[in-house]
């Protein structure tokens, strides 16, 4: 008997079913857009609307999917760090949105702008992270209405990797574009990516829709993402969750393409269990991971790039649970072929807190997965047939040039994980993982160097932010 343990057999008929049932919801239930600006767009294009609910016919969805590009490149301030999404590589960004920091003592405290800056320095010096988050943490020591300006300015000045634009409001999205314009001028080339989350079930919040509209009009890429808590904001079954969230995501994609056909989109869909003893949101579960695998197949079905959750955990410390859950989520994403993940470094319990030490640990996980998914080389040299025949049973491969040439590059080398023998491990000054991570963190921050920037541009960016903040 053939055993098939794939989470989803890539049976097109299942994907057809999810798609057709999503269309049924789009036609029969519609999606709520509580934004007059969005409703006006739909009405002007002849969509059926009832109050704030818009109904979608199959043709509108198929037309929209037809104009979404299969891949696109986001420019970085340092051109060498520009990233291609949909080209086969797995692009990673750190935590997104937590308002708290959890220290190694277990204490939880409000995140600050200084924490944002520290995380930016870690992103800049990270070997595995490809782009920045627009809210790596939500700083509590600056006014909420202008926090996006402080975060964006810090990110632009402290890193030269690609940016995420803010979606906290329409104004914040416009501010993000204005700051980008100062760097790249008035351009339609993608220079940032943004995350637009729906509000389950079957609706969007006004600030999300209006941010989506700002970015779509400017031709800037958007991750359109829907997710429900299974059994709370959506059906308890994965099949039902897929249909309800797919319908919502497709409606958002449709709006983006109505405004500007060809707007780069990353397809996003997730689903997390409800903790049935409290009603709380739980992530980092086998059910989350199943969504990741199936959603990747759906994105391939639609021919557009795909986003998944990252190194999530419900744990609050650097323990077995944190590592196990993060690894399950990330490994599933990596092996399923996800293009983009947010939350890949630093996230603790239900995405509500960040940890600097977990960030360092997750980098080892992300780095090892990037190595895992790298295709194995099957060249003549890699098979090493001549060498195998020459050495036979007596060979010491350590003494060969074939080994020498590759000994520094052949294997993934963890920064944090230990590979010491037991006696050395016992003798280590910092044996606990969080303490070793703390040492690496301190070294990283002390050796950080700010990337070059034209002083005129820096002044211009600072001036814009100060003016907007009324300083």
């Amino acid at each position: 008997m053939m055993i098939n343990r794939a989470i989803i057999n890539f049976d097109k008929s299942i994907l057809d079913q999810i798609h057709n049932r999503s269309l049924e919801l789009l036609q029969d239930c519609g999606i709520r857009f509580p934004s007059e600006k969005a409703l006006e767009v739909f009405r002007s294009k002849g969509f059926r609307a009832n109050g704030q609910t818009v109904y979608f016919e199959e043709k509108a969805i198929i037309d929209a999917l037809g104009t979404v590009p299969a891949q696109f490149t986001i420019k970085a301030r340092n051109p060498e760090k520009s990233i291609c999404i949909g080209g086969g590589d797995y692009m990673m960004a750190p935590g997104y949105g937590p308002p708290f920091i959890i220290e190694t003592t277990g204490e939880k405290r409000d995140a600050t702008l200084e924490d944002v800056h520290k995380f930016c320095k870690l992103v800049q010096t990270s070997k595995c992270l490809d782009f920045n988050s627009s809210i790596v943490v939500q700083p509590n020591d600056v006014p909420t209405e202008t926090a996006h300006l402080d975060i964006l300015l810090g990110t632009i000045l402290l890193t030269d990797k690609p940016l995420m634009g803010s979606t906290s409001s329409e104004v914040a999205a416009l501010d993000s574009l204005r700051l980008a314009e100062k760097i790249w001028g008035n351009t339609n080339d993608p220079v940032m990516i943004s995350l637009v989350d729906s509000l389950s079930p079957l609706q969007y919040a006004d600030e999300s829709v209006e941010s989506l509209m700002v970015y779509a009009k400017a031709g800037q890429p958007v991750v359109v993402h829907s997710a429900c808590s299974l059994g709370t904001t959506g059906p308890i079954t994965i099949a039902g969750s897929l249909v309800i969230s797919n319908a919502t995501t497709l409606a958002g994609i449709c709006l983006s393409q109505l405004l500007n056909p060809g707007t780069p989109i990353v397809y996003g869909l997730g689903g997390s269990p409800t903790e049935m003893r409290t009603g709380g949101y739980v992530n980092a579960s086998p059910e989350d991971a199943k969504h990741t695998a199936i959603v990747t197949a759906l994105a391939r079905y639609y021919g557009i790039p795909c986003r998944s959750q990252g190194a999530l955990t419900e744990s609050f410390c650097l323990d077995y649970q944190a590592g196990m859950e993060s690894a399950m989520m990330m490994t599933t994403a990596a092996l399923s072929g996800v293009d983009v993940s947010l939350h890949t470094c630093g996230t603790y319990g239900s995405m509500l807190a960040m940890s600097f030490e977990k960030f360092i640990a997750d980098e080892d996980l992300c780095g090892s997965l990037k190595k895992l998914i790298k295709p194995v080389e099957f060249s003549e040299e890699a098979f090493a047939m001549d060498l195998i025949k020459e050495l036979g049973t007596s060979g010491n491969y350590l003494m060969q040039n074939h080994t020498m040439k590759r000994c520094r590059t052949a294997f993934f080398e963890p920064v944090l994980s230990t590979r010491a023998i037991h006696i050395k491990w016992q003798q280590m000054e910092l044996r606990e993982m969080d303490k070793r991570a703390g040492k690496i963190l301190a070294d990283r921050l002390s050796s950080y160097e700010k990337p070059d920037i034209d002083p005129m541009l820096e002044r211009d960016l600072v001036r814009y932010v100060e003016q907007r903040k009324g300083v």
Binding site: Q138, N140, S168, L199, S229, Y281
Partner: protein
């Protein structure tokens, strides 16, 4: 001993039996206070305890609350003004700018189940609406919910508005990013990390 059967039916989430037995007891002339307190409300106290200990799951607790409310609806027309229809009035809502309502709904259902009259103002609620409704309903407690860090300032402005209106109504807050420290900072009268805790808090505040 069918009042006990009403109690048992609430714990079995069996709405049809709760309404059937409640009606039968009422028709049979059983003391209404006994049906209300020994049947319905004490059953919900037991549900609350089983939920807090992790024995009951949320959907089960909600179904029990729904069964209890169905029984209560039968009794309501027969309750005199002096008979305690509720333990107090709570005005609840998700604050201005925030559309998340799962936690708020859970707290609302649990409070109703515990015997409070709950006025749910929904989501994206202005400070003035909380103040106005609390005054109209003579509410003892205003319960504020927020999921977004960006809408937490709306909690502060609502608490301030309640104080400025010179009302005796107490304010409590909850939601994933909210903490006791934040409650203290904005001068709210209480904070709870979860729904059962919110019910306990309200019971203490109205005691």
């Amino acid at each position: 001993m069918t009042v006990k059967e009403i109690f048992d039916a609430v714990l079995a989430f069996d709405e049809a039996t709760v309404t059937g037995k409640t009606q039968a007891e009422l028709d049979g002339g059983t003391d209404i206070d006994a049906i209300l307190n020994d049947g319905l409300i004490s059953a919900m106290d037991e549900v609350g305890e089983r939920f807090s200990s992790g024995e009951l799951f949320v959907p089960e607790m909600l179904m029990a609350a729904q069964a209890m409310k169905a029984g209560l609806a039968i009794l309501k027309p027969h309750l005199s003004a002096g008979q305690s229809q509720s333990k107090g009035v709570v005005v609840i809502g998700t604050v201005k700018g925030d559309l998340h309502d799962i936690g708020k709904n859970l707290v609302s259902m649990m409070m109703e189940g515990a015997g409070f009259e709950v006025v749910d103002l929904g989501v994206d609620v202005e400070s003035e609406a909380f103040v106005k409704t609390a005054a109209e309903k003579n509410a003892q407690v205003i319960a504020l919910s927020a999921l977004l860090t960006t809408t937490m300032p709306s909690m502060e402005s609502t608490v301030k508005a309640v104080k400025e209106a010179g009302m005796a109504t107490r304010t409590i807050i909850g939601g994933a990013p909210v903490t006791q420290a934040f409650a203290d900072q904005i001068g709210a009268d209480g904070y709870s990390a979860d729904a059962p805790g919110a019910v306990k808090l309200v019971k203490e505040l109205v005691a």
